[in-house]
């Protein structure tokens, strides 16, 4: 179970960090997307767009380092809940034709019920992370006196490598799928 906690923690870290980096690259675009949700008053849009990116950066980094595990999980639950409510409100209003603004490895999609379900699944996983304990790869445990052989050992190295590989496999499959779609479109145009 401990291996699973580290594995999920890393995947969450990649998800939040990649999302934050892609939003940072296009902060102006991200601000417009939040504006298109039509939930916040215009004066708060700019502040929220920055708070949101900062939150994702903090959560991603904490998960990566295994620091303040419970705080990171709670923040992840809070942020994912805010996103889900925002999507839900717009779906109920019938305002589906806007980008979710998710960014990073999760990509940008038009609003749909699938996104709400995906976020709910992520919230459930974050709740499970909140309730689970792990010494492996945890800076919290290391700082509280657990020896390095118990925290950052060979087992931890192999989990890190396998998480990286899993992430890269997912990315490769997604890329191959989009390539296949593009080539099919070109054939159809021909």
């Amino acid at each position: 179970m401990e291996i699973m906690v580290v594995f999920i923690r890393f995947l969450f870290s990649i998800m939040f960090l990649s999302s934050a980096i892609s939003k940072l690259k296009k902060l102006e675009y991200h601000r417009i997307i939040i504006q298109e949700y039509k939930i916040l008053p215009p004066s708060l849009v700019k502040i929220f767009s920055r708070f949101d990116v900062l939150g994702e950066l903090v959560i991603g980094t904490l998960f990566l380092l295994g620091l303040f595990h419970k705080t990171a999980s709670a923040l992840a639950i809070l942020l994912l809940s805010i996103y889900s409510v925002a999507i839900l409100v717009n779906l109920l209003r019938g305002n589906r034709n806007i980008s979710c603004g998710c960014g990073g490895v999760v990509g940008n999609h038009k609003l749909s019920w699938w996104l709400v379900l995906r976020n709910l699944a992520l919230i459930l996983i974050a709740v499970w992370l909140y309730n689970s304990e792990s010494i492996l790869g945890s800076l919290d445990a290391f700082l509280s006196g657990v020896p390095i052989s118990g925290t950052f050992n060979t087992e931890f190295l192999f989990i890190t490598l396998s998480t990286c590989t899993t992430f890269l496999i997912i990315q490769s499959v997604r890329l191959l799928f989009s390539l296949q779609q593009r080539i099919t479109k070109l054939f159809l145009e021909y």
């Binding site: 102006e28 490598l161 390539l179 593009r182």
Partner: protein
């Protein structure tokens, strides 16, 4: 023996990760290449941003360290002039931009690739100059020199390759006139 096995196992993982990174980079390159053109009547035509679509947003720092955002139009149309350091027409066009700005009430932004051996350096006052590969990618590299005129609501009203300052002025006046009418 077990240590040796662990090391070889870790090295294999690292090698696999490296291979996947190379594969993803190659696939991204192919995807970017395929997204650059479409097939029209059995011949290849470049993909470009069409008139009437919303211009991709950007926010960059100009040559004076000032933040330039496409969304901050101040109610004026924005002329995006795509240039290249190796393009001689671009170097002739840039000094004529202040005159163009005097005659038409527009905001002018010149965009070029990020380069270390930059040759375009003398930018007239009142013209923003941005070096950004990201903007060029977002605008599907319209060519150099090329003009994209964006109205105050961020819709593209013209996307043309230009060969002289006179042609740029003609395209600009025609686009602004047709938008006003």
């Amino acid at each position: 023996m077990s240590t040796l096995l662990s090391i070889s196992n870790a090295l294999l993982w690292v090698f696999m990760i490296f291979q996947f990174i190379c594969f993803i980079m190659l696939a991204k390159l192919v995807a970017n290449f395929l997204n650059r053109f479409r097939i029209s009547n059995t011949s290849v035509a470049p993909v470009k941003l069409h008139v009437g679509v919303q211009a991709p947003l950007f926010r960059e720092t100009d040559q004076n360290g000032q933040i330039v955002a496409l969304s901050e139009t101040e109610g004026k149309p924005t002329l995006l002039l795509f240039t290249d350091d190796s393009c001689s027409i671009c170097k002739q066009l840039i000094p004529t931009l202040p005159t163009l700005k005097e005659h038409t009430d527009i905001r002018i932004i010149v965009i070029a690739h990020e380069r270390k051996d930059a040759q375009i350096k003398d930018i007239p006052d009142g013209v923003h100059f941005l070096r950004s590969d990201q903007i060029i990618e977002d605008y599907l590299f319209p060519g150099a020199p090329a003009m994209i005129l964006v109205d105050h609501k961020r819709y593209i009203i013209s996307n043309e390759i230009v060969n002289s300052s006179h042609q740029l002025e003609v395209f600009l006046r025609h686009s602004l006139k047709s938008t006003n009418s």
